[in-house]
Assembly symmetry: none
Homo-oligomer: 191 residues x 4
């Protein structure tokens, strides 16, 4: 219960620079980038890295957490659009597509997290995302467009198996193959 003295401005700046650099470096060179390289990319010394994140695993966890937060934001805006009248199935699949695209950027992050056994950073963001997706699904089911047994964890399952390291055409095709499993209508030729 330390009063948590307000962190110094430059420390906050450093934390952000480090998170950004770590994201870029891991994205670009995979989870095995050295801490030194991340530090250099962030423009700080290794020691500073370790002041903010006691362990490489912690750093990666933080990067993943930031990614989860962005996903949550995306889910909530989709939900917002549905509440404003958009069709839920469309928003859900579009959301799925956007996540897959974003994953490309954050490519190896997922792998890094697994490799290092990173712990969940911020439960809160995950819950936020989960709530929004659940609402989207319910809306789609109310419309009769989304299959009644689809759940939030189905969406997560698809997230976790998205072909993030494949070319755009493959990713688009994957969406086509996977969408019919969520919806009620029969598959149409050519899409």
């Amino acid at each position: 219960m330390t009063p948590a003295r307000a962190p110094r401005a430059d420390a906050v700046r450093n934390r952000k620079k480090i998170l950004a650099a770590a994201g870029e470096q891991i994205t670009a060179h995979g989870p095995e980038v050295g801490m030194d390289e991340i530090a250099a990319a962030a423009g700080v010394a290794v020691g500073t890295l370790y002041r903010h994140f006691p362990t490489k695993t912690d750093l990666v966890a933080a990067v993943v957490a930031a990614y989860v937060a962005r996903v949550a934001d995306g889910a909530e805006s989709a939900l917002g659009r549905v509440e404003a009248g958009a069709r839920a199935v469309d928003e859900l699949t579009a959301f799925l597509g956007r996540v897959v695209e974003a994953s490309v950027t954050d490519r190896a992050v997922k792998a890094a997290a697994q490799t290092l056994g990173a712990e969940q950073g911020d439960r809160a963001d995950e819950d936020r995302a989960g709530a929004a997706v659940a609402a989207l699904i319910r809306a789609g089911q109310a419309d009769g467009d989304i299959h009644p047994d689809v759940t939030v964890s189905d969406i997560y399952l698809l997230f976790s198996t998205a072909p993030t390291d494949q070319p755009p055409t493959a990713r688009a095709r994957w969406l086509d193959l996977v969408a019919p499993g969520l919806t009620t209508g029969a598959r149409q030729a050519g899409n």
Copy 2:
């Protein structure tokens, strides 16, 4: 042409032991298991590893190749059953399911191969698998059960995104979600 003097019995035994151990170790601890650990698990000295596979990359490639060979076998037996009267869609999805199950055993192998940029060992096995899968698809399309635009690379795309590291129930659910993308009928509730 090649004199190919019969390989010594013990050398063959060792090669098999090494491949098996490498598969297990990589499965259990990921691609970064040390060569020493693999050697110990195989009951040989490191030098023996290197006599059989000049490089860690080569070893992983061989493990992957063995896996591909098993997949090819599976595809061909499925095709055999179809030729003997079985329904093609069923055999195709069953085959997909079996590959996913098998993948669990070979879990990280795929990742290992990517990490190390392993080359594929035996084109032949890949071709064998491809031919058999293509025949299955054609048969299912002739029956009117498989969607006309489904191709062999669709099947490979699904392979490569199978949730090999998830619990059995998740893997089963994944099959349910993915199957409708391949077939013509509308999705039925509860499957």
Copy 3:
């Protein structure tokens, strides 16, 4: 231009300890001494070796460079004495003798450099040595003591063939055998 922040005191100390230890170890056990052994002899961990010299080759090159710098110093003092009135031939042969003696200490260094294909570190020191030796030769030739066709590369040739790994008497005898090739006078019995 280079900010060149003053190197930390302990880092400088370590660099020196490492160079000294490397010289000794290579001298004592040849170029194949392990980096670990050099590190131990220097009282540091291997990692520290690699922080200062990214490669064994680089380390050896640095040792050789230090040796070249000492040779250059020796040549320049000899030249200084000549300018102060000493006889050039005598200084040149004495210099040759001193280099050979010093080589004993740095015994295998030369071999190590060759074995590893080490690049030369500081051209400057080599040039310094070359200039001083050239001046010595010219002075001796002006005196009529040194044979007119002797060049700097002759001196280097003799350096490179000095019997550095032989007992002192052999080294002295070698000097006696080799000196007449540089001078004008006929050889005298007994020296």
Copy 4:
């Protein structure tokens, strides 16, 4: 005192092939060539190498011994020519030159021997060479051409310091620089 049963013909052939191959390989790639490579070059298996030479050191010693034998032959022919009327100084320097040239071929052999601490193979050949050289020196001294204090070990000293790894011009120049130390006459300009 085992009767030393006459060695089988093929064993003798193998011994020769191995010695030749070892000489070539060490000459070409230095003392650190692997035993496997030598074996391959000789067209036998490693086991056969070890049957003939229990240790790499022993093998190198044998290669050196063969070299010494050739040197002895050269010395003896030179002596023969002197006895047939040739001038001793000329034969001695020519012999020195030929040894240096030959050394080029056997380049790293000397280094290999040192590196491995190889023992003398055949005292007899060394003695043969020593006797012939001694006779040459005595003859030259009787002619008044060779300096009276020159000994056999002087010649060996020069052998051991010959610039075997330098280009032909450097080797020739080295001979010019070194010859005056052996002879009585004053050095002449230009040779």
